[in-house]
């Protein structure tokens, strides 16, 4: 046992420890090696004990060597231990296979019509419009009469109506909100009013007995057709993209005058003419116009003091255009395979 310690022995033990730690495959094996080198009866202890066999003048230098060795081995051990801990933890984290699917909840999502309505509302909120609401079951007065549809007039044939009785009906458009709101608020005012509307029409790919509409109304002292054009143009570009081409042309609605319709260049053929747009290159987006003086009078506003514009569009139609949906009846089908298609975004936008 009283072998004479050699400096060469010190470096030899260092190499042995480095090899042994590297070969230890797990923490248990590593710990066995730690005991072998650093334990109470380990190699380092043996070396330190053998110091007594040296000449007194050699002892301090040898002692320094062994302490250096000890520090190095401890360092080697710690770094190997950390590496092994990390390896083990990683194996636990991934269950051995990081490509396994992650834990998921059931996916949910908003209905495409409400998603569309939310996008539309957000744009108009930014433009200073606030939200108004009216009843689905409406008085004939608000749905027709106060909107300048005289009784027994062919303009009433424009909208097939569900009646509850002679005076009460299911609103055929969101426009009744105009008069209801104006009755209760003084100008200036700027509102949008989304809601469900009803038409007594047999369903087909482009007609539904119930659908969503959104109404807009802006009344102030000098609102003009120019203002109408500017607001609608801003909306269409915000919603369909900045390059959407828009056409503004005269039309007729009993409750606006001058009246107009807005068309957008067909997204499918980019204006060349195709089946989607009836070969015209244009798709009708919304009806609009300057509030008719009769409507102002019904609402109790002085038509000489105020002017205003109103617009209305079908949310179903807008959603169909934006998302390329071929049949309006799908929107209320509640087929989850259909609804799921609008829960996530697409990477590339087809609308350019």
């Amino acid at each position: 046992m009283n072998e004479r310690p050699e400096p060469s022995r010190v470096s030899e033990i260092g190499e042995q420890a480095a090899r042994a730690f590297a070969e230890a495959g797990d923490l248990e094996a590593l710990d066995r090696e730690r005991v072998r080198f650093l334990g109470r009866k380990g190699e380092i202890t043996v070396l330190l004990r053998s110091i007594g066999t040296l000449a007194p003048e050699e002892r301090p230098r040898f002692g320094d060597l062994v302490n250096e060795l000890k520090a190095r081995i401890e360092e080697l051990f710690e770094s190997r231990r950390l590496a092994l801990v990390a390896e083990t933890a990683e194996a636990d984290l991934y269950a051995g296979d990081p490509t396994l699917p992650g834990r998921r909840l059931t996916a949910g999502g908003h209905h495409v019509l409400h998603r569309t309505a939310a996008e539309i509302k957000e744009i108009f909120f930014g433009m200073g419009y606030s939200l108004a609401e009216g009843p689905d079951v409406e008085l004939d007065y608000y749905n027709f009469e106060a909107l300048n549809f005289p009784p027994d007039h062919p303009s009433r044939d424009l909208q097939d109506t569900f009646y509850i009785n002679q005076d009460i009906l299911l609103r055929t458009h969101t426009s009744p909100v105009q008069v209801r709101y104006m009755e209760k608020h003084a100008p200036p005012l700027r509102i949008i009013a989304p809601g469900r509307v009803y038409r007594n029409e047999s369903p087909d790919p482009s007609h539904s007995a119930e659908f969503l509409q959104i109404e807009g109304l802006y009344v102030d002292r000098a609102v003009s057709l120019g203002d109408l054009k500017s607001d609608v143009l801003f909306f269409i570009r915000a919603f369909f993209g900045p390059t959407a081409k828009v056409r503004f042309r005269p039309h007729f609605f009993p409750f606006t005058e001058p009246s107009a319709e807005f068309d957008m260049s067909c997204f499918a053929c980019r204006g060349a003419g195709c089946a989607v747009c009836g070969k015209t290159g244009w798709i009708e987006i919304m009806g609009a116009g300057m509030v008719h003086p009769h409507v102002f009078r019904y609402a109790g506003y002085d038509p000489d003091a105020y002017t205003g514009f109103a617009f209305g569009m079908g949310i179903d139609r807008i959603a169909m255009l934006k998302y390329g949906i071929d049949d309006i009846r799908r929107l209320l089908s509640n087929d989850l395979r259909f609804l799921r298609q609008f829960w996530t975004e697409r990477k590339a936008d087809v609308l350019r």
């Binding site: 699917p101 834990r103 998921r104 909840l105 059931t106 996916a107 949910g108 999502g109 908003h110 209905h111 019509l113 409400h114 909120f125 200073g128 419009y129 606030s130 939200l131 689905d136 079951v137 409406e138 008085l139 027994d152 007039h153 062919p154 303009s155 424009l158 569900f162 509850i164 009785n165 009460i168 299911l170 700027r190 009803y198 007995a209 119930e210 000098a222 003009s224 057709l225 120019g226 203002d227 054009k229 500017s230 503004f248 042309r249 005269p250 039309h251 007729f252 001058p258 107009a260 009836g278 070969k279 015209t280 003086p293 002017t307 209320l332 089908s333 509640n334 087929d335 989850l336 395979r337």
Partner: protein
Amino acid sequence: MKISVSWLRRYVEITEDPRDLANDLTMFGLNVEGVHALAPEFRGVVFGKVLEVKRHPKADRLTMCTVDVGGARPLNVVCGASNVRAGLGIPVALDGAVLAGGAKIKRSKIRGEVSEGMICSEIELGVGDDAAGIMELDFEEKPGTSLDGKLGETSYVFDVEVTPNRPDLLSHVGIAREVAALYRRELRLPELFPLEAGDAFNVTIENGRDCPRYAAVLVDDVVVGPSPPWMQRLLTSVGMRPINNIVDATNFVLMELGQPLHAFDHDRLSKDAIVVRRAKEGETITTLDGTLRELEPGILVIADGERPVAIAGVMGGMDAEVSEATTRILIESAMFDPKLVRRARQRFKLDTEASYRFEREGDVGIMLEAASRAARLIADMRAGSPLARCTDAIHEARSLEPRSIRLRTAQVNRLMGTALDAADVAALLDRLGLPSRPTGEGLEVSVPTVRRDLREEIDLVEEAARVYGYEKIGLDEATHSSMFASASASERRSTGITSYLVSRGFAEVITSSFMDPGDLERMGWDASDERSRPLRVANPLTENQSTLRTSLLPGLLGVVKRNAPSECEEIRIFELGKIFIPAAAGSGLPREEHHLAGLVARSAAPLQWLEKERRADFFDMKGELESLLEQLGFSSGLTMSASRERSGRIFRWHAGSVRIAEGGVVAEGTLERFDVDSPIFFFDLNLDAVPVESMGWPRFSPVSPYPAVKRDLCIVVSEKVAYTEVRGVIMRNAKFLDSIRLFDYYRGGHLGEGKRSYTFRLNFRSADGTLDGVAVDREVQRILGALQRELQATLRTE
């Protein structure tokens, strides 16, 4: 309405490509929804060269031609035209060819001689009006070259959308007037037959308001026969069926001037009289469609001396119909009260070209012109001799005068956002045939009878705007006043709670506002339940869409059925929508409530390798409902009641006396009646019961910096004691309780009959300092003492 471009050209010069014309008209306010190109329709016709012409041996007026059509040998064709001669280039219909109108050409024998084809006239090919001889081609082609699609001009027909305010556009002259205004061209009105207004025929109008004007023209020596090809072609191109020269002439005027005419067989009118009157009770008429119709005093009729011969403005009767035997006719050109025409049309469900126009109140000034135009056409066709003396009964002469409307220039500019002066506006209106003279504030505009839709200033503003051009109206953003807005509180709340549900894996659905009345029985609601008395639609599309929903639940059950288990293993759906509860008195508008309803069914979570499959249950639903209620501000303070009903095991949550929500398990029977496969756990929240205005903002309270001390307690109680009672006692008797959580629940088994245990994790914390073990032990002892005293609870020890 269909409008033929060739027809328009009779009244106004059109040099534009038809597609450009369509676009220009659309931008001018007349929406052209479709453009159809109609090429002459014939096939199997080739270029031929006449080589030789010989007399037909058996018929003087026929010739036998040898025609080169490019084949191995020339064809023998029998021809009846006098202009056929050798060397002529002609269109030859070969065996099997189809000509305009659908006639098929076959190899045949004509008076004993074989004819292997036919040499065609313009009319036979539908490329022109010349029927007198064969068509002489003024170009050369290799014999045998197909001429299909190469002869004649393509004609264009527009589908135009005429809005109800513009009856003047329901005719070719009306649209030609717009084209003339659009391109600043001259309008050429059709030729008329000179008439002398008088009382040539006995017309009695019972009430001038029912019939403001009635003109009648007599035509003698009528010879009923086919109308000329040009007229037939124009009528056919706009979708009208040619019938005979008289009817076609009246239809032609209808499409030309927009005035519906009616021709009566004069000799079948009894007592030589026309009476415009209300029908008498019990009278009947057999209309031209062969239907016997019972009349009533609300219906305006044209009668002769005895009986109704027409329903005014809607359809004539068979009794005085023009037939082959007719020799004298009376042409009616009248105006009727639009409301009466509308009533008769709706009453008999008879939509006709005439009723469509009368309902829209045409031009009261055009009656005589229209009658005289028909007389002109009939005379030109040699179909009869119109008498110059006619009848023209006018209720109010004033109604023919132009209307005068004042137009303020400032109003035009204010609405259009322009800076025009009075002269500019006058020039715009002048293009539409609306003369004006300047006044102090603007113009005094004179509106002829043809534009009776222009009643007041605003109508003229629109006319000025569309002639000016909507596209030219500038984007004048400077006039916008500053108004700012944001989503309302209720909008934010709706968005918040629906987004919560979406993030919790719920799919938002939108179901119909209509409810099948059969759903009331299927749901199993009590008759006393207000949901059992829905609002009925008077004219529903179908019986199963005849009421308005009183609950969102039937719709949601429909969605479960719609999505079969094979397509959708987990069902988590919700809808935010309105329900309709009829007003108490049965009149007035119903109460519309905003509800948020949802349900869970089938699997609780997606099938996946990390989790055991689990079926959705009551507590899946309840957890979501509790979270929703918490978001609406109800972290406590709601009472829950339970009841067993035909519709299921139903729980209701009240705040005071206000019902906020209900939810539970849908009854087996209801599931069967809805044909739904699996148990369904639903909730239904009345959002209107929690007014947005009643909701406050969260308030800050300090967070304790000291650590919490954790204790787990397992309490055993009788099963008559509910969880909320146990929890209540703990909460009431703790001073430092920071949170309480139930994490185990057990009943029966070794606890013994009628017992259950709740295991709670309690966290204690003080805001003033770190709690020591002694203080916590005292707290626990106090809680246990209270539980023992109030609920006879014991602490369970293993």
